[in-house]
Amino acid sequence: MTTTPNVVLHVADVHKRFGGLHALSDIDLQVIEGETHAIIGPNGAGKSTLLNVIIGKLAPTSGQVVFDGAVLTGRKPHQINQLGIARVFQTPEIFADLSVLHNVMIPAFAKRDGAFQVNMLRGLGSESAIRREAEELLADVGLYERRDSHAGALSRGDKRRMELAMCLIQHPRLLLLDEPTAGMSRHDTNTTIELLQKIKARGMTKVIIEHDMHVVFSLADKISVLSGGKIIAEGLPDAIRGNEKVQEAYLGGAHRLEAH
Amino acid sequence: MFEVIFLQFLNGLDKGAAYALIALGLTLVFGTLGVVNFAHGALFMLGAFCAVTVRMVLTMETVTIDPEQLSPWGAPLEIREPLMQAWLGDTGAVLVNYSVPLSLLITIPVMFVIGVALERGIIKHFYKRTHAEQILVTFGLAIVAQEVIKAFFGPNPMPQPMPDAARGAADIGAWLGMQANIITYPVWRLIYFLFAAVVIGGVFAFLQFTTFGMVVRAGMADRETVGLLGINIDRRFTFMFGLAAVVAGMAGVMYTPLLPPNYHIGMDFLVLSFVVVVVGGMGSLPGAVAAGFLLGILQSFASMTQVKAVFPGIDQIIIYLVAVVILLVRPRGLMGRRGVMES
């Protein structure tokens, strides 16, 4: 298999079977540096399975996932992160007992010190570079005022934004977003979209798994449509919007795919 | 050689039966309420002391001092008259003789009330708290229970005689058509094993064949769905806690003739029973029972001199060793479901 220099993530001929069930067949997906690539599809289309294969939680039956020349399959979560992949979860995974500021500082240490280091000679007080960067990011996501609150006390939308800041501080080469607006109010959804658009301006490569069309069409440069474990269409948002096959498969033709 | 092995097998049965009974209750509580109950051993101990109390009551005596007569030491003679015999004659003597099995009648309601009170009073506030906190509060309760017993009964073991009829040994070898007096087995141990088998069978039958049991099993599998059906699962689970307490208590009562109970007998058994539960698989009732017997028998084999000659000290650690190996190699135990309590 060949990887062109600017392909960051390459899901190459991936099949995944659970018993007799073909959860994923013949998935081939290339994510180009700097683009926002959305993967959409109806429930049960295999979106979560694909995500789990990408992050190495599930081993594909055949095929492999290559990130920046490194095969991801079989690596542990922390190793995958150390390669430069950060992830936002469907339900925010945060350090609920720690302060917002610390939540954002912690990932910076993983970036700077690696997967394990007993770093106890210097106090947290002297880690001013990391602190400053965390504070700047918190200002970017609008949480600077709440930097000393317990993260667990934040609203769901705020937790999501904090989680984004936790990912951004690592300057990942690839950011995976698993339904970043799931369960959010309209207002929170909109602020999240704005935030993601702001990140987009920074040119970070992103893969978004999402079923909210509004979110997808506001953000994606390229869309892959997954249905029945296969990619049935791939292309620019406008092309996808007009694609009959997608309309049919996605919602059985009952609704039209449109941005709100 | 066969005889030796068979004998060790038998020797493991009664201890295994005790492990199985305690582990069964632990698993019931864990499976239904999701609570890790470190006070379960204390319930075993409380049951044992029910038997002690019943015997103390049955053997109460009136002491009259007869100044006319002198004891061999020159003090006025104390005439002790057992109350039971005085009131009931021979029936009284029979009651005293059968005090251990009789105390089951008292133990069942007492333990049920204790169990329900514990659950309603304390445990229920811990459903939503972490397993560490559940361990801590039940650990504290276990300390309280054993210290209360120590305060009233003192620190020393209190031997409980078995009924005269159950003394001596049964010649199991002869029953099975082998030479006489090769394989003999104390009758009370045999009774204990049969008793455990009946109790375990009863609990399984109850869960299997009654509507109540069906609901409880469904609740063990998926509490929320059952709750959605409009069934009051909490009350049933409270009952199950009471039932677990009764099972532990009965196991404690019947074990008293084999091992004189003291206040920390519960803790001694608890640590082992937890190991048993883990080996059987957290949340699996058949696993708990199977592992209980298995470990009892293994322990019995490990204490054979031939085995100890090869692995010195193995009898002291065999159960823990098995637990460590099982936990590291197969963390869900022999029959446990995947993912229970792994978070």
């Binding site: 720690l98 | 397993h131 883990v278």
Partner: protein, 378 residues
């Protein structure tokens, strides 16, 4: 106000409180060296336990094993090498550290209650073995003690000789009485400052993060197991140091120090004081040892005198009831207090103090924000 100055104030304050204990504890009847030494030793044990349980959230029920190993190692060092305390302490920390490394490596392959049961199983194995096959090393039930015939190689080389019953020393000075107390106090202060250092460092923050959300840690790029193992190792070494100090003050090591009830005791201390806080576990250890000392010494005669102001029948009843909770019954009191704390005050005494402080603070006054790093990992 910089947090490093707060740290410094706290450690200096702590050191002063500890060193002045013979003075300020005297009115409470606790100002004598024997008890003070135990305060120091169990303080170290609890501080170390808290590094594992308080920071990472892993509840070990087997830490007494490391305490016991520390004691045995120290006594063997007194017997074979020298009566000087330093080789004994160093060896004890190393050996218990190795022990903790092996047990921790295996136990940390599982988490939650499985971890607790694994540590419990290992500790019980050590305890049972110490009583049976390992009798040549542990001297079984009698306990390991010093004798006149011990070889003491290093002492023999340096030509040290002793008259009478051998006792541990420090550079030739006997470590009994207040000397022993100040020796132990030195180690408690060092242990405390080190724990403070850990809690306030990036490393400590990682441990708290593991407690809070292990999954997030992994997806954030941290290999969590070595972090937890480091915490386990450090707390095991603390336990070994404490065990060795107990052997210094009383050179007799028995297997009962390794029993799981002893592991339970350090859990009680930590919870009672306030798990995850710096001073909480030390306070918990002091309180438990203090009340153990006071309450377990009370007997019926003392009680009768105490209640003599009451009318006759009432005073008898009072004596009878009270006697269940003191003397041998002191553990009942401890158990009850513990249950109440876990139910009503899961953060222990430290949380109680915080609540009281909030109660008395002028309503409307701004609540001081927790300076991010003294904040406990609850």
């Amino acid at each position: 106000m910089s947090s490093s100055r707060n740290d410094l104030l706290l450690s200096v304050g702590f050191a002063l409180v500890v060193l002045a204990m013979p003075i300020w504890l005297a009115p409470f009847g606790a100002g004598y060296p024997d008890l003070l030494q135990r305060f120091m030793i169990y303080g170290i044990f609890a501080v170390g336990f808290n590094i594992l349980f308080g920071l990472t959230g892993y509840l070990s029920f087997g830490h007494a094993a490391f305490f016991g190993v520390g004691s045995y190692t120290a006594v063997w060092s007194f017997k074979l090498l020298s009566l000087d305390a330093f080789p004994a302490l160093i060896l004890a920390v190393i050996v218990s550290g190795l022990f903790a490394l092996v047990i921790g490596y295996l136990s940390l392959r599982r988490s939650g209650i499985y971890f607790s049961i694994l540590t419990l199983a290992f500790a019980q194995m050590s305890y049972n073995l110490a009583y049976s096959v390992l009798t040549p090393i542990t001297n079984g039930e009698t306990g390991l003690q010093l004798t006149l015939r011990d070889p003491r190689v290093l002492d023999a080389i340096t030509g040290q000789t002793y008259v009478g019953q051998p006792v541990p020393t420090l550079l030739g000075q006997q470590l009994s009485g207040y000397a022993g107390f100040y020796f132990c106090a030195f180690f408690l202060i060092v242990a405390f400052v080190l724990a403070q250092r850990i809690a306030g460092s990036p490393f400590g923050m990682m441990l708290k993060a593991i407690k809070s959300n292990q999954t997030r840690m992994q997806f954030t790029g941290f290999n969590t197991r070595p972090y937890a193992l480091s915490a386990f190792l450090i707390s095991g070494m603390y336990a070994g140091l404490a065990g060795a100090l107990l052997a210094v003050t009383d050179p007799l090591a028995g297997a009962e120090r390794m029993q799981w009830t002893a592991s339970g005791e350090v859990v009680l201390m930590t919870i009672l004081g306030g798990v995850g806080t710096l001073v909480g576990p030390v306070i918990g250890a002091w309180l438990i040892k203090y009340f153990e000392n006071i309450l377990s010494a009370l007997n019926d005669q003392i009680l009768v005198r105490f209640y003599s102001f009451l009318p006759e029948g009432v005073s008898e009843l009072a004596v009878k009831v009270t006697s269940k909770f003191v003397g041998d019954g002191w553990f009942l009191t401890l158990g009850l207090v513990f249950v109440l704390v876990v139910i009503f005050l899961p953060g222990g005494i430290m949380e109680g103090v915080r609540r009281l402080a909030n109660l008395f603070r002028r309503p409307g006054a701004p609540t001081p924000r927790p300076t991010a790093h003294v904040q406990p990992a609850e």
